[in-house]
Symmetry: C2
């Protein structure tokens, strides 16, 4: 009999929960990564026969058959759970004929269509003889539970499948667990993005931050401004993301419970925009005459804001999520300073010589455009740092090295939400065994009130594209990003030891290989199934 309600059961059982860190049990029961908040496991195990294995909705579930996210997940996880099963050919090997079913119940929000920043990912999973009961508050929580269940199943040497009696109550420590991919410095084929989304789901990441355009290229094919990509992409046909490509990425991510946050970084990092949009960038001057080169977006022209409003209106309709990343980092003032019209505008506005004020003026207008479109803006920390009027800001992403927790503290003290990225810049190559560097981060290790700490909504792994493309994206990301994933999902106290984490991470890497993810080795050794996709 499956229990009826996530929250009630949690309350009832909390007192009795016995936490077992399954260190010695790694060989009997493969580990789960990231570690669930509470995880009890027994040595009692149940054989699984793929021919008598079923996923099903419980009668009381709010989501029922026909819920596309879960229906598709059942198919996907069946293949992940039984990777070498093909109907008909291993009847002989698996003698078990008792049925086993995973029964799902979703409490509320019938088949929610798109995950939000407030979507619960909480789930309870209880595995006993003949069945696993998976209760969640939303379909997104059910997805996380299915991932956990898939990691609990293991094969013995003869290839038979087993799952141990287990009881799991789980929820993320942080609500925002993102990965940034940069498709401007190098174009990433859609297939590479989809593969990354798959791997993200295995580590329970829930945000794909799509740094889609930058100085180097503008691959986003805009309906409103087609010249942006036809002139600003590396190639107007082969190196762009069409509307259909973008929809495909968003829809694929949604099925995995991953939100897509687009970033259209401005006013700096926009060189490629200028190729397809005249008069958008600031002409730079040398010795009083226009030099033919261009700087950041021109904040002194009304046409700039008309353009940005049109573009953002389109982008807001294309990306269904509520977050919109506005960038705002690394603005070089020298071109603005060289331009007499910009300087005249500064005088008119009373900014004096303070270009930070000009930048703040620009960002505020852009934030207002975004707010009017009913989106929550995220900005890089630079915007917070130079902006005296911070009330219009919502979410600040901390990315600079140095004392990043000092910055986190400053931002939450100002009452704003924080996403932490500084310690997770994975594009920098490094020996993979440095994974511990990404594991030993604790975003809340600063002095502040509980309320302030709640403003730290999560963190993000950044894989900038200067030296990364489809050839090396996966090994550079995995399994180091998984170290960050556990930091963002799991209970800090239970996951403070690198030594305890290593065997579980080694096991998880092998699972990634089995699932076709090109995850680098962490040290000397082997996996039963090595990467075969050569």
């Amino acid at each position: 009999m499956c229990p009826v309600d996530v929250r009630r059961r949690l309350r009832i059982n909390d007192v009795f929960l016995l936490l077992i860190i399954l260190k010695f049990g790694l060989h009997a029961v493969d580990a789960v990564w990231p570690l669930p908040q509470t995880f009890t496991s027994w040595t009692e195990r149940y054989p699984l026969n793929p021919q008598h294995f079923h996923f099903g909705y419980r009668g009381r579930s709010a989501a029922l058959e026909g819920c596309p996210v879960l229906d598709a997940a059942f198919k996907r996880y069946f293949s992940l759970i039984f990777p070498d099963y093909a109907p008909g050919n291993d009847k002989l090997r698996i003698r078990e004929d008792k049925p086993f079913s995973v029964e799902i119940a979703v409490d509320g929000h019938y088949c929610e269509s798109y995950p939000t920043e407030d979507s619960s990912e909480r789930y309870n999973l209880s595995v006993s003889a003949g069945q696993a009961c998976l209760n969640a508050e939303t379909v997104w929580g059910a997805l996380r539970g299915l991932e956990t269940f898939s990691q609990l199943v293991y094969q013995d040497d003869s290839g038979s499948y087993f799952v141990n009696k287990s009881d799991i109550k789980d929820f993320p420590s942080f609500q925002f667990r993102g990965i940034l991919l940069d498709t401007s410095r190098h174009y990433l084929p859609v297939q590479a993005i989809l593969k990354t989304l798959d791997a993200m789901a295995y580590s329970k990441f829930n945000v794909f931050h799509w740094h889609i355009v930058d100085d180097q290229s503008f691959p986003y094919q805009s309906r409103t401004f087609p010249d942006l990509s036809s002139k600003g992409a590396f190639h107007p046909m082969t190196h762009i993301y069409t509307q259909s490509d973008v929809r495909r990425v968003i829809s694929y991510a949604r099925m995995l419970g991953i939100r897509v946050v687009p970033e259209f970084d401005s006013p700096g990092h926009t060189k490629s925009w200028g190729k397809g949009q005249l008069d958008l960038l600031t002409p730079c001057y040398r010795r009083g005459i226009a030099s033919g080169t261009f700087g950041p977006i021109n904040p002194a022209l009304a046409s700039t804001y008309q353009f940005m409003e049109s573009l953002f209106k389109e982008v807001s309709s294309v990306f269904p999520g509520s977050y919109f990343h506005l960038g705002g980092d690394e603005v070089d003032f020298s071109c603005w300073r060289s331009n007499p019209y910009i300087r005249a505008f500064m005088q008119k506005m009373g900014f004096g010589d303070d270009f930070a004020k000009l930048q703040a003026f620009y960002i505020e207008k852009i934030v207002n455009i975004t707010t009017a479109l009913n989106k929550t803006s995220i900005v890089w920390q630079d915007v917070f740092d130079y902006n005296e009027r911070r009330s219009s800001l919502s979410v600040v992403e901390v990315w600079k090295q140095g004392c990043y927790l000092c910055e986190v503290r400053r931002v939450v003290k100002a009452g704003l939400r924080v996403i932490l990225a500084s310690p997770w810049y994975l594009d920098l190559p490094g020996p993979t065994h440095n994974w511990a560097r990404y594991y030993n981060v604790w975003p809340l290790a600063f002095s502040g009130s509980e309320e302030q700490k709640r403003l730290v909504i999560g963190g993000e792994v950044c894989l900038w594209g200067e030296y990364v493309d489809a050839t090396n994206l996966s090994p550079r990301l995995w399994p180091r990003a998984s170290a960050a994933a556990e930091r963002l999902w799991s209970d800090e106290k239970q996951t403070s030891s690198v030594e305890n984490a290593l065997p579980r991470l080694l096991d998880f890497r092998c699972k990634l290989l089995r699932r076709g993810i090109q995850a680098e080795p962490l040290n000397v050794g082997h996996c039963r199934h090595e990467y075969q996709g050569v």
Copy 2:
């Protein structure tokens, strides 16, 4: 009319040769990597139609139809030259109907069966209207010429194929151009090795140094001592190289003109050997009693040399090349020192407390075994460093960091041949743009006589396996290894500028991607055909 003889033509034309460094011509004619010794190219270009394109043997060629190495190469290079050609489907696009043939003549050594260290790789390639004449002294030289020809062909935006009028006279600066793969720290599936061999041929590497066993695992399945892999491999069935696997690798390499040099490193680096061969390793002692742990191979027992002779006899018959790498590096004396039987043996032999003498004694016996098997031994520099009687040595591989050219000088002064590896340890990850570090090496930049410099027979890129397996082998190797390849093949004076090399290397990386090799990006940018094998 194709010219008749490689050597004669070289002599006749040398005076008239005009060297054109094709810097400005990169867009019209794609570059060749590594740069040929002399390369003249004209803007005159000839369209190629795959339907009217043929490879053929010239009547005077010593190698004729039925020579397996060349027959197979014709098929392989046809696909590489016309990557998107499928019979029937692009008749319309390519209107050219003039035939084009590549005519091959090999001067001597009819269809040589296995490349040796003395095999000539020299070739002349002359491309004119309707034909390319490729003359070489051996089939191996013909393979290098085919690779060059394949790199000369390019496509315009409409997809039509062209080759420019060209005249190339080419030969390697160094005879030994190797890549080391380590299949002990991580097992590499055979497919990953074959793919690496393909990529090696594209950069004109000619030696695969197979560091096949080490402390961590013994994947070589010996006919004579099957326990070595059944007990010493990571897994006795899935993580081994069967005799058939090894033959496959050797035969695949041979078809690409690549020799396979096996390394069975001893007396250190042999922990995994001990699992399948009793009494081979030295028992270590603590406080006078055997501790249960083991050190290097036991050099004091006659049975050791009987075993090594049997094993090496087998290995020598399996690997047809003349080189055999004996290792000999990093021997830890502490276990030998702890063992009373070893100390007694030292006294008996008059070695006193000098364990270097014991090691030299061991290596000399192993070298003699190898010599008796008609193989030339290669040893790591350690053997040269501690061995006072160096006369038995042949080839020394310099691998330590620091002043490696000082070591090279010492070795050649002792009259021994050198392979340089120190500057090309590519397993260490690093920003790919550091490729210049591997390019800016010149193995002969030490003061010595011409005769001494001739003893530097080449160099080797080492990809140790501690943090490398099939998931990241390719991006870690390519294109950085190609930088070393040009250093070892091309004329130093013409390839001394990193700046001039960059655009050619960028172009070459795009060719690697087109051929399915996962070569990392060197900087921001794009290739017409990005890596699609995600």
